[in-house]
């Protein structure tokens, strides 16, 4: 490589060299061109996920956390368009998922085999008219050249692995014949049957009762250990993040406002939004008889957003002329802990 070429590529736009990083997002932007203007659902998001690690993505509705997950698998609904780099380490080489055709052969091969996704509502993953077992078999047969009977045995095996009793019988059940918790387990089984390296879990326990949620969280932790995979856990629930994640990313209005280890962020939240979020949740034994700290106003819609801190309209520490002058830069305040706020510049 000549020196000239080396200077052309900015250092942050080169593919990751760290063997341990299995997925790296670099300045990912997913915009929707609408009649009313440009909806910047994901606006310059960068982070990476390491092998066997769980990364939590937390934020309120409309912050772009789900669209970030969809952008990785290139399943963003129309007219969304994804730019930037999404590097996946795969069979010893690095592929930029953002450069692939969203319905091409290569990304379809990545889906399911390298990266799988589970959702809040299992019925979005399952077709209502085919048995759970047939759908899991289908996932196997699309990617692997094995006889049908072998695929069926694998389906039964994975269903019992996720804790579905009488898997030999339930394999022929239609999705609606299973209870909510069992459907969630079946969806996890379908996602994991090809042993993906990364599981993107988008609010997978939000619709479940707490005791069932605890079962599913425990199951995901066990399977992660057993199979050695990374998890990207998208949720609005800070309790779930604290329990599941190693690293976390806080998103607001399409941007990452803070990222670091869960210990660092729960121990010392730095962005005014993260601080407000942490103070706005009721905590058992701590907040009774006290008013919660609420954040004034509501999350704006990122339609033609001005170049400013997205939180400036609600921020108690808003500094006129600085917070609304430009998008703040990401600052590393301590090793591995980054925050996007002018207070730390």
């Amino acid at each position: 490589m000549t020196e000239e070429q080396a200077t052309v590529a900015a250092p942050e736009s080169t593919a990751p060299t760290d063997e341990d990083v299995i997925l790296e997002l670099n300045d990912v932007r997913t915009y929707f061109e609408l009649e009313e203007g440009t909806l910047k659902a994901v606006d310059g998001v960068s982070f990476n996920i390491r092998r066997n690690e769980t990364l939590g993505i937390v934020g309120e509705s409309g912050c772009g956390k789900s669209v970030t997950g969809q952008s990785i698998l290139r399943i963003v609904p129309k007219p969304g368009d994804t730019q930037g780099n999404i590097w996946l380490r795969r069979n010893g080489e690095t592929v930029d998922l953002a450069s692939l055709h969203p319905s091409g052969r290569e990304i379809r091969d990545v889906r399911g085999r390298d990266i799988a996704m589970i959702f809040q509502e299992p019925m979005t993953a399952f077709s209502p008219v085919h048995s759970v077992g047939n759908q899991i078999m289908e996932a196997i047969l699309v990617h692997e050249n094995v006889p049908k009977q072998a695929a069926r045995e694998r389906a039964i095996e994975v269903l019992s692995q996720v804790g579905i009793p009488e898997a030999e019988r339930r394999v022929d059940a239609l999705p609606h014949e299973l209870s909510g918790g069992m459907r969630q387990r079946a969806m996890i089984a379908m996602a994991l049957v090809l042993r993906p390296k990364l599981l993107i879990a988008d609010e997978p326990t939000t619709a479940l009762d707490v005791t069932i949620q605890a079962q599913i969280l425990r199951l995901m932790q066990d399977l992660q250990k057993e199979m050695g995979m990374s998890i990207m856990f998208i949720t609005h629930n800070l309790g779930v993040i604290a329990n599941m994640a190693d690293q976390m990313v806080v998103m607001y209005l399409g941007r990452v406002v803070e990222q670091g280890s869960v210990e660092a962020i729960f121990g010392e939240p730095q962005h005014p939004y993260t601080q407000a979020l942490m103070q706005s949740i009721p905590r058992i034994g701590l907040t009774r008889g006290e008013r919660l700290t609420s954040i004034a106003g509501t999350v704006p819609v990122p339609l033609n957003p001005p170049a400013e801190c997205g939180f400036s309209s609600r921020c108690p520490k808003f500094i006129p002329g600085r917070c609304d002058a430009d998008v703040p830069k990401m600052i590393e305040t301590s090793p591995g802990h980054h925050v996007r706020c002018v207070l730390y510049e």
Binding site: D209, L238, M278, S294, I295
Partner: protein, 352 residues
Amino acid sequence: MQDDAPQPETVEAANGQAGNTILEIEGLKKYFPIEKGLLRRVVGYVRAVDDVSLSIAEGKTLGLVGESGCGKTTLGRCVVRAIEPTDGSVRMHVDNEDTELTELGSRELREYRRNLQMVFQDPYSSLDPRKTVLDIVGEPLRIHNVARGRELETRVSELLEVVGLDIRYLKRYPHAFSGGQRQRIGIARALALNPKVIICDEAVSALDVSVQAQIINLLEELQEEFGIAYLFIAHDLSVVEHISDEVAVMYVGKVVEHASTEELFSNPKHPYTEALMSAVPLPDPKRKLEEITLEGEVADPADPPSGCYFHPRCRYAQDRCREETPELRVVGEGHEAACHFAEELDLHGVTA
């Protein structure tokens, strides 16, 4: 328990609230028939609410928790008679007057609803999209002939201010509002006739956390200002712990434990309550879940297990639990539980 140890009859008596009870539910039952075949023969019943007795003191909050299908929502609806209870009594004591709600005719009931209102979970489907905020919030005032015309507009504006909405929104339609704002509209409507009791059915569950905090604070402020009592039905234990004075835990149609909030959370006496609390992921990475993972799922209220309904999932279950149904009984000062072994078990609560 020793015979000579005097125990108050009920939790309310123990907590010194017997004098100012505003809502009293006694032996409430709602059985839904299961019909089969062409002739719709009744082959059984879903005991959605099965002999529940609870009461709420004036200006206080009773939290009602439980998992889906436990009957908490059905209970709330029976109280306002949005669905008719199968049996039991719902009494309100307003201005030294006792009223048995289950005996009111439809006209009387409509008239009486001014004292008893409901706020729902889904702020998206509970507001009529074709009506303006003025119509929605003003409707109860018009129905009850409290105000009309200019006066109505003034009163609705006042209500919007109370719940923290801009009065310029008066002529707007629900779709123009965010979830939190819609929930404020629902609350303003519930407040219109100065009710004594509001049933909040998962009133903050669909909201984002920062907005949820706004609505919880608003409900608390309104309670302080107007002395409203809440029956706060929710599945989120942290929210219930925060807002409630007392908490009742339901499992398969029955109340299995009932105590003051502090007592219930620090000193649970029913294994289900313990398991429920241990399953709540706490927002603190230093305290990872060491939950008592409950095997299996909530029992089917159409075909509940023998004995204690919780026994198939209970890690403390013994033979007696399979055979004998435990009654809800006083197990400590101001504390009721339906477990044969409430006194013997050393259960863990959640502490700060």
